[in-house]
Symmetry: C2
Subunit: 152 residues, 2 copies
């Protein structure tokens, strides 16, 4: 399968590109089983298509992965997403017990991990994943920049 | 319909009771069209049933309402929920452009409105609903207390 030749973040970027082609803000996410490297969910932003403000890439990926596993927690899984998660998605990542969160571009305007609500940095957050930001950052940021440039 | 005789929070409490009977943490939510008082969504927590950590009552209600309306925003709607929303649900409420948020019990342990991340209190939050906490607070808190007492 082609997925074995691509890194998880490259797969997430491909999801983001597919989203852009459908007129969605280009954000993609994948969930990987950490031990095996097995891909258990790929998703992208579908808020426009579904008229659903909760249909962010991370939420879609978590719902796909938990549904596939028949369990609400993904302890041994890592989530890769092309953009810093918002507060909604950061909290969902915590609830899903994601082991490690990798994200691409930082989001000073709407992010909820390193910006704003900083969801993981409070006692009310009962599971904090390990966080690695800035993975393939330039490519992820470029995708978003292009998308919004074309819309203006 | 019986709903006309009950307040929206009483309807949300009934949803919470139904959740408890199915072994779910008892939280219920309803969405009302503000001008007409028309009920457009009723939901409860279904995280256990669906193996979905994002299936909180508020998320379920927003998804039901936006799906029914065929639009991702609920500008003229109010959301009633029996417990202070967590960070995930608070952000979803903001994305859905809910006009007014009424909640029952305060949640010092996991809340994201008056506690912890305080999602609405940051520049990264682009819509802040009017917030009224403590509606039917005793009843909402009692439901949760009973539920967890029986589980111990």
């Amino acid at each position: 399968m082609s997925e074995t030749k691509q890194t998880p973040m490259q797969l997430a970027l491909a999801q983001a590109q597919a989203a852009a082609q459908r007129g969605e803000v280009p954000v993609g996410a994948v969930i990987i089983e950490a031990k095996t490297g097995h891909l258990i969910a790929t998703a992208c932003n579908r808020t426009e298509e579904r008229n659903d403000p909760t249909a962010h890439a991370e939420i879609m990926a978590i719902r796909e992965a938990t549904s596939r596993q028949g369990a609400p927690r993904l302890q041994d899984c890592d989530l890769y997403v092309t953009l810093e998660p918002c507060a909604m998605c950061a909290a969902a990542i915590s609830f899903a017990r994601i082991r490690r969160l990798y994200f691409g571009a930082y989001d000073a305007k709407s992010g909820g991990v390193d910006h704003g609500a900083k969801v993981f940095d409070h006692d009310t957050c009962h599971h904090k994943p390990e966080v690695i930001g800035g993975v393939n950052e330039t490519e992820a940021a470029e995708l978003l920049k292009e998308f919004f440039k074309e819309r203006r």
